[in-house]
């Protein structure tokens, strides 16, 4: 699924559980062992190279070219023409950027804090905490495509649950939540938050369990209230988890695709950068160069959280 495939980065475990010197050097190996090890490294690396790294580089290359996607020989370089189109002429580009920003803002301001709140409440000694956790976590198991369908039943103009609850069903005031371009982005975001909050909750529950209990005791002995203890002591102590949550939230808002594609193929108010890439790929006329230029814009933006995450994870590892 296009769910965020990020696990909690393990800065703690990575920070030289074994100092490199204690790991085996290749010199000590026999020739046969070296060959075996070489094959074990080569196969996954080759798969990564062929299916991930080379296509990514090819996206960059094709973004400076003109190609109809037929024969390789028909690829022609055309400089920055594609980018000029993307930034200056494409009517969908800036709306898509705006929607991606709105996506991020909504998850960052509502989805993620809600997940944190649920985690903090459920981390207390509460009866039935497992049942609550199971309920909040349930949507995380569902694909975003399916979530789009399930919420369609809630949002539908004539037969949706929401309009019944608002008492507007059947009247002219009934809103078509997924169809009306002034509300459908927010409707989709509510559905996405349904899933996102549970995901964040489970990650923060793990993070909270990792906080040394003596920190809380010390804080309450010093007379700190519950709120103070959380914001001044517990939350900063979860720094590694917080970084991952930030990265997940950013990457998830860049990866958003499935749900809008299921709703209406990402049109009419639901344009996103990821959708624009696909539109130029599956459309009637394949304009590979322009699709690739959109892909490169998405790549460059994505590299910001990725580099942040990797530098944090792997620099502590090397120390």
């Amino acid at each position: 699924m296009s769910a965020p495939l990020v696990a909690l980065g393990d800065t703690e475990a990575g920070s030289g559980v074994r100092p490199p010197a204690r790991r085996r050097r290749l010199r000590q190996l026999t020739t046969r062992d070296r060959v075996v090890l070489g094959v074990m490294i080569a196969i996954p690396t080759l798969i990564q190279a062929v299916f991930v790294w080379i296509p990514t580089l090819a996206s960059i290359g094709l973004s400076f070219a003109k190609w109809d996607g037929l024969a390789l020989s028909s690829i022609q370089g055309n400089g920055i023409t594609n980018y000029r189109f993307v930034f200056a002429e494409s009517p969908q580009f800036w709306p898509a950027v705006l929607h991606n920003v709105a996506w991020l803002a909504f998850l960052a301001v509502i989805g993620t804090p809600l997940g944190l709140l649920l985690a903090v409440l459920l981390d207390q000694k509460i009866r039935g905490t497992r049942i609550y956790q199971t309920i909040f976590f349930m949507p995380v198991m569902l694909s975003l495509a399916l979530i789009g369908i399930i919420w369609e039943l809630v949002y539908s103009q004539d037969n949706g649950l929401l309009n019944y609850l608002l008492g507007t069903s059947g009247t002219s005031r009934a809103v078509d939540w997924f169809g009306n371009s002034s509300v459908n982005l927010w409707a989709a975001l509510v559905a996405a938050t349904w899933r996102h909050a549970g995901y964040i909750m489970i990650l923060y529950l793990a993070g909270l369990k990792g906080v040394d209990p003596s920190l809380r005791e010390a804080a309450s002995l010093d007379g700190a209230g519950a709120r103070q203890t959380f914001f001044r002591v517990v939350f900063p102590a979860m720094a590694p988890t917080n970084v991952i949550i930030v990265v997940i939230t950013v990457i998830e808002s860049l990866r958003a695709f499935d749900i809008v594609y299921v709703i209406n193929h990402g049109t009419n108010g639901l344009e996103l950068l990821s959708v624009l890439v696909v539109q130029y790929l599956v459309g009637e006329t394949q304009v590979i160069g322009i699709g690739s230029a959109f892909a490169v814009v998405l790549l460059v933006i994505s590299l910001v959280p990725i580099v942040l995450y990797l530098s944090r994870t792997f620099s502590t590892k090397e120390r």
């Binding site: 049942i131 990792g210 890439v277 699709g291 995450y309």
Partner: protein, 311 residues
Amino acid sequence: MTSTTSTATAARPKDGVRDSAVARSRSKRGGNFWATYLFLTVMAVIWLIPLLWAVYTSLRPKADTDKYGYFSIAGHFDLGNYLQAWTQGGFLNYFGNSVLITIPTVILTLLFASMMAFAVSRFSWRFNVTLLIMFTAGNLLPPQVLATPLFEMFKLVQLPYWLSDSGTMLNQLFSVVAANTAFQIGFCTFVLSNYMKAIPIELSEAARVDGAGVWTQYWGIIMPLTRPALAALGTLEVIFIYNDYFWPLILIQSGNRLPITTAINNLQGEFLSNYNLLAAGAVITVIPTLVIYLALQRQFIAGLTLGANKG
């Protein structure tokens, strides 16, 4: 509680001040306590509504909802929508495709990722950290970034017809397996290498002294010890791949070769204006994940948070 406190205060007037302070703090905690429950329960109900609404709608015949409206309790309940959706929607075929994609992908991903993780975490060689970083980075990219060249590449590859009836890598289930495997290897390598690092190096040393080669160390010693992580990751990956919508959308052109998650799109068109059928279809699609979730919840969550608490 209030009455006991007041009698206590009456009995021991000297301690009155302190007692009432305790009572106040206690009742305050009580207030928070109930507010927490209230909030959680309201949220839980809101969280359940979309799913319960789908289940409720799916159990009602179309004739009844047409007559009474969807927002009603009149009429009767049966499984008619499920039967109709199942036969009309071709679910068996879609589920079959999902299985044919999911199982090979998860096995291959865990196999290759564990080999790489073993090599990275148990031996030190020049580019091991660099490669691990590249693997992890690849997994974090939005798949759309590399979808176009991958599609064109699959289109250009010429395959014999006994291997692929399209003559290329397009419209083949194994291409979806390849794309998914490549995308998941990075994540699994990262998680497994963290896990394997925590296994004492002395175990490998002892095996080496006994004459065990690299493969024996990997398959005979490290892999059995990594079993908990593999189980957790395996569960997680089954859900991830089953839920993958994007790669089949791009790589598969024939509708009857789609896995269920991507085929949902078609159902929406097919069952248009029949929300009862659509709801039944959605519930049918949820069932496999829900079964896995309820049976293997612990594994799944362990997979998601693996690394946070170090295995």
